[in-house]
Amino acid sequence: MKVVNKGIRKKDAMSLVTGKPVYTDDITQGSYLVVKLLRSPHAHALIEDIDIEKAKNLQGIECILTYKDVPQVRFTTAGQSYPEPSPYDRLILDKRIRCVGDPVAIVAGIDEKTVNKALDRIKVKYNVLEPILDFTKAKDNKIIVHPEDNFKALDSIGADNKRNLCASECTEYGNVEEDFNKCAHVIERTYHTKANNQTMMETFRTATNIDAYGRLNIISSTQVPFHVRRIVANALQIPKSKVRVIKPRIGGGFGAKQSVVSEIFPSVVTIKTGKPAKLIYSRKESFTNGSPRHESEITVKIGADENGIIKVISMHTLWNAGAYGDHGPTTVGLAGHKAMTIYKSMKSFKFDYEVIYSNTMGAGAYRGYGATQGFFALESAVNELAAELNMDPTVLRMNSMLSGEHVGETMPSYFNEVLNSCNLDKCLIRAKEMIDWDRKYPFIDIGNNKVRSVGCAVAMQGSGISDVDVGAVEIRLNDDGFYTLMIGATDMGTGCDTILAQMAAEALDCDFDNVVVHGVDTDLSPYDTGSYASSTTYITGMAVVKACESLRSKIINEGARLIGCLPNEVDFDGEKIYSLNNEKQISLKDIGNESFLGFNNYLTASASQSSPVSPPPFMAGLVELEIDKLTGKIDIIDYVAVVDCGTVINPNLARVQTEGGIVQGIGMALYEDIIFDENGRMVNDSFLQYKIPARNDVGTIRVEFEPSYEPTGPFGAKSIGEIVINTPSPAIANAVYNATKVNIRKLPITSEKIVMGILDIENK
């Protein structure tokens, strides 16, 4: 391959590193109204009265909107294909307040100072209600988060709003009880993961205006432009034809921007006033009212035979939806289906879950999408099982997990999909070599109370949502023989514009620079569900392959016609069409130019792709820690990752994705923790208190690939974006155990918990 599998620079790289004005706020300068939200200080309340008189008369205030001014039709802000699995449980502004920071009023004015002054002058009378903040106690509680009768679930997701149930399900395969009884070893443990914030560097932001055709234009930092079009139109009760969404460069998303967080508010202002409007979330707002990872409590029970081979797994999962159900019913599914599937030796399984409403911030999508929580629980339990059996946890895994040997077999816990590609065994073997596991396991004492220990985890994810995700592209031949690739997938820094162009260049035998890309404008781009669910490389990539095949054959037909041959008498080498029988030929450039003059068959092709399967990428993550047993201080020395994402389309970008995901995972493992006070207010709502890893915190990270070939993927590719966040929490917990015998089952893994655990063991 000439272009695929090469570490090519991103197409937008040089404009990003020279600070060009390419993000939402940069390209929407001028007379935009500043939009801000008045937010509730209470976690649970009913608005009895809002007095806006003193605010609306301020000079420079354009509009103040309350629940009286917006449609009272419920919707979801979850960016998912219609019919969304997330319940319709929101209003733009609601009389009922369900979490601290719920919007109470939308204020728009000429500048920030004026708007702030107006926010201060709005008087709200609340009937403050007792909140239910602990999701483990919320089901069937007397406090109901969504008592409304117009609550609606489009799908049978097991929702019952009168019981605070956002979703519930129980799946069982085989005879779990009988299999547990047969097992020589059974362990049962409960794990707790906390809510985390994605903290993409560019906070939520949206600018809106009315264009020359009288349509609402939305320029937004979003992962899901087409879903934004639908959701905003639904929320505002306007036709979808009246909405156009443009995605410029985005300063990161990680799932946060798979929810329609900021788009609706300036849209309402622009509809009401006819004027351009812009809302930029502060970092604090992005923390307190973003779309964080769902907090979870997962009880895992594993049964193994006398050789430590895993025979049966059950997972019981409680999930905190928070105030709204965005992505609740779907993220929770991955906790079981993605996690358990990795243990192929399992003969039976049970997975049941409940997603519970509470009066905390509504959660959303975050890289890993529930699988991350599931893998922390399951991989930790597997490590605890290995410890009980006095087995090396890597050896236990090698005997039970998916490997190359299982290719062609059905995976019952993965919706009966067939495994088409897998190098997980090679990943683990190679990762062990890289970190020198056999020498270092379980730990090496380096004196002064300090030990260096190693820990291990494996993980998988999917590649797109099977039979749901759609990626479409269009590719055109232009004069001078260059191509335009129109894509609806959303590059949010990940580099999908680049890797899709790499695939097009490979398929059309041309230079990478001969393909220009354009995305995303919902008026121009072909439909794409958006960039989430690890779908872009696999789904949209395959659409590129199909569209290029189609364009290629059109070029051959046209070239053959121009030189007076039949299509089967010529070939195309990317630069010219040439006769297989004589000297006749015509360059691509000339074909392009000819097609721009008196020609009625513009050379363009489009294709869309949806896949009945979601092939899992695999990864082994091994960590070496240094732990001070006196203070509990943890230093990450080395993190080794070996990934099977199928064919690596761009090794540089895949490597940086992996390194970035691991560091986000390290943050989740060691300190990221959304904490609410007794009134439901988020306590640590800034980077001062909510620490994310800085470059001093992460040691060395080393990444290698063990590519398998996925026959259903473009050039054999699977996904990379999400799987990379799944191993740090369980691997680090395992290394902590190997150093101290302390099992930390509640994230984050703090020094305090380690020391308290050591003291507990000593005092026993």
């Binding site: 620079r9 560097m201 990161g252 540089n652 940086v656 390194e659 980077f687 001093n696």
Partner: protein, 151 residues
Amino acid sequence: MEINLWINGKEFKDDVLPDTVLIDFIRSKGFYSVKRGCETSNCGLCTVLMDGKPILSCSTLALRGNGHDITTIEGIEEEALEFGGFMADQGAEQCGFCSPGFIMTVIAMKNELTNPSEEEIKNYLNGNLCRCTGYMGQLRAIKKYLEKGSK
């Protein structure tokens, strides 16, 4: 209040409010490379050079810039392209939102430290957060950039 300062060599005389922060002043003059990532001086995205030294423009009053030379990445296009090329060769810009502030700090480091060790590099740049890359690609880019500079 009247101020007089230079941004990328160009003089700006303006009347500013006492509480105008430098980042807003700079952006209002069309230098959009300077980004805001937080309100608590933690992320480093808004880093610019004042008289050659890196400062956080989100927590510096525009008044403080009076009489000083401010440099943003727009003012050092050549260095930005040179170092940026090493970043791009690693794919280490990713979303790019933190890149301008980060690159300004790298340029300041290069001027201030000779042959910095890996630890010195990490310490110097520790205030520049990045959520995409995990920092390793940035480190590889810096090492190659400094290697080339020392040849």
